[in-house]
């Protein structure tokens, strides 16, 4: 199976798990953003361009199940994936704790972009006093999931030349 197909399959699995499983596994009423973690992990292994595209598609898939306008999650996931990809290219080495740190960063950045773009689009129900708490808890949840998702994605996408930044996680 080629790399693009494996990535597409990973995106589909992530969207299904997000809408079918995680509503049952809330922490303080908050679900994680598995698509953001996927985008961050692809950014880590494949770089910013692939992460932006995978994040966009995963976000778009998630958007279909949300009441917020279609495109909001796609926008935040794509920008976050790109930003994490650019960030990781500047890393000289990748310590073991990089996965949760990037997961946390992706959760915070993605959540902030989602809330910010909701404010610009006039989606008032997202821009609330409770939004920072929700984004913070979701980001911590993302960080915990990243510990599992990063190696899983790396394994699922194996079979192509890996990005130099990933060698320490092997």
């Amino acid at each position: 199976m080629n790399h693009a197909l494996r990535t597409a399959l990973a995106v589909v699995v992530v969207v299904i798990v997000q809408v079918a499983v995680f509503p049952q596994l809330r922490i303080s009423g908050v679900v994680p953003d598995l698509g953001l973690v996927l985008a961050a992990s692809i950014a880590f292994s494949d770089g910013p361009e692939s992460a932006a595209i995978a994040g966009f598609v995963a976000g778009l898939g998630y958007d279909l199940f949300l009441e917020t306008p279609v495109g909001l999650s796609a926008l935040s996931y794509a920008l976050t994936g790109y930003a994490i990809g650019v960030l990781q290219t500047s890393l000289l080495r990748a310590p073991r704790w990089i996965a949760p740190v990037l997961g946390l960063a992706a959760g915070l950045l993605g959540g902030a972009i989602f809330v910010g773009s909701s404010a610009l689009a006039g989606v008032d129900e997202v821009v609330t006093d409770d939004a920072p708490r929700i984004v913070a808890i979701a980001a911590l949840y993302d960080a915990a999931l990243a510990v599992v998702v990063f190696p899983a994605v790396r394994r699922a996408l194996r079979g192509r030349p890996e990005h130099a930044g990933a060698w320490h996680l092997r």
């Binding site: 509503p23 809330r26 303080s28 910013p48 199940f65 009441e67 306008p69 909701s118």
Partner: protein, 308 residues
């Protein structure tokens, strides 16, 4: 060096394209209603994923309860562990019986709600909560195949839950009363004053503004649907109880907080009322029985309900 620059430029073009596409989609979705192409794609996606969600709910419900207990109930002390294990063991033996009794009780309570006989109803099971963090919704296992259409009221054993906002073949989505986009016309008892109770972001209570400062409203007063002409909901459905009352600064009115009777996190079974806002009961040829029995329902909207 030149190749590196070309790669960088290409990456930026890709990102720009994605951002522009996302902004276009957001704009299209904001401007179109549910009947637009994005709405159709969404319904198809729900239709495809719903059986998976339903299956996962069946498997993961006990896991979800445990998960909620661990993360929302605080840490457990070591000395409690042994006792809890013993209790769990005993409770497991009674689980099946309790589950059946609880289901039975919920259906009895549903049947006891003050709903006129001319409103047909569809019994449904809640299969999922909100998929995202910024909406308060429930997903049901019944949809257009059972005659459910948008805007139909949904009630649980304790009272009003919300209204249907999205329907597909084998499922539907319910907007809870507490969602900021939700508003319900209520009448307070015993004062009989009416108003619109609005959902509040990040809160479990509803906000109700009463313009008259002289009306006597007290904590514990009951709120029920007003059923005024054109209302989304039939009259006299229990909504909640007044949790707090405060005078607006400057004496311009009273600010009331209504605590819904229904604990939305615990709802398992609901009833969808075949009621069309502003028009009353929807005429049907058959009514679905409570869960475990499935039957086909054909629905005919009364005159003037083309929008449904």
């Amino acid at each position: 060096m030149a190749m590196y620059r070309r790669g960088n430029r290409r990456r930026r073009y890709v990102l720009l394209l994605l951002v522009l596409t996302a902004i276009t989609l957001i704009t299209l979705d904001r401007r179109s209603d549910d009947e637009g192409p994005l709405g159709v794609v969404g319904r198809v996606a729900h239709h495809v994923v719903n059986p998976i969600v339903s299956g996962v709910d069946w498997v993961a419900d006990p896991v979800g309860d445990w998960f909620a207990g661990v993360f929302d109930g605080g840490s457990l002390k070591d000395e409690n562990d042994e006792l809890r294990d013993r209790v769990d063991e005993l409770e497991r033996e009674l689980d099946e019986v309790d589950s059946a009794l609880e289901e039975n009780r919920q259906f009895k309570d549903l049947l006891a709600l003050p709903i006129t006989d001319d409103i047909d109803r569809v019994y449904a099971r809640v299969i999922a909560g909100a998929p995202g963090n910024f909406e308060q919704t429930l997903t049901l296992n019944k949809g257009s195949a059972d005659g459910i259409v948008e805007d139909m009221p949904v009630i649980a054993a304790r009272g009003l839950v919300g209204r249907v906002i999205e329907v597909w073949g084998n499922g539907s989505k319910v907007l809870l009363l507490t969602d900021p986009r939700s508003g319900v016309g209520v009448r307070l008892v015993p004062s009989r004053v009416t108003g619109v109770a609005q959902g509040r972001a990040g809160s479990d209570t509803l906000a109700l503004q009463i313009g008259d400062v002289d009306i006597d409203i007290a904590e514990g007063d009951q709120a029920e649907t007003s059923g005024l002409e054109g209302s989304t909901y039939p009259p006299n459905l229990p909504v909640g109880a007044v949790g707090a009352v405060a005078r607006e600064p400057g004496g311009t009115g009273q600010r009331v907080r209504v605590v819904p009777f229904v604990r939305f996190a615990d709802v398992e079974h609901v009833m969808v009322l075949k009621w069309a806002p502003g028009s009353g009961p929807v005429v049907t040829t058959t009514t679905t029985a409570p869960p475990t029995t499935t039957s086909t329902t054909s629905t005919t909207a009364p005159t003037g309900e083309a929008s449904l």
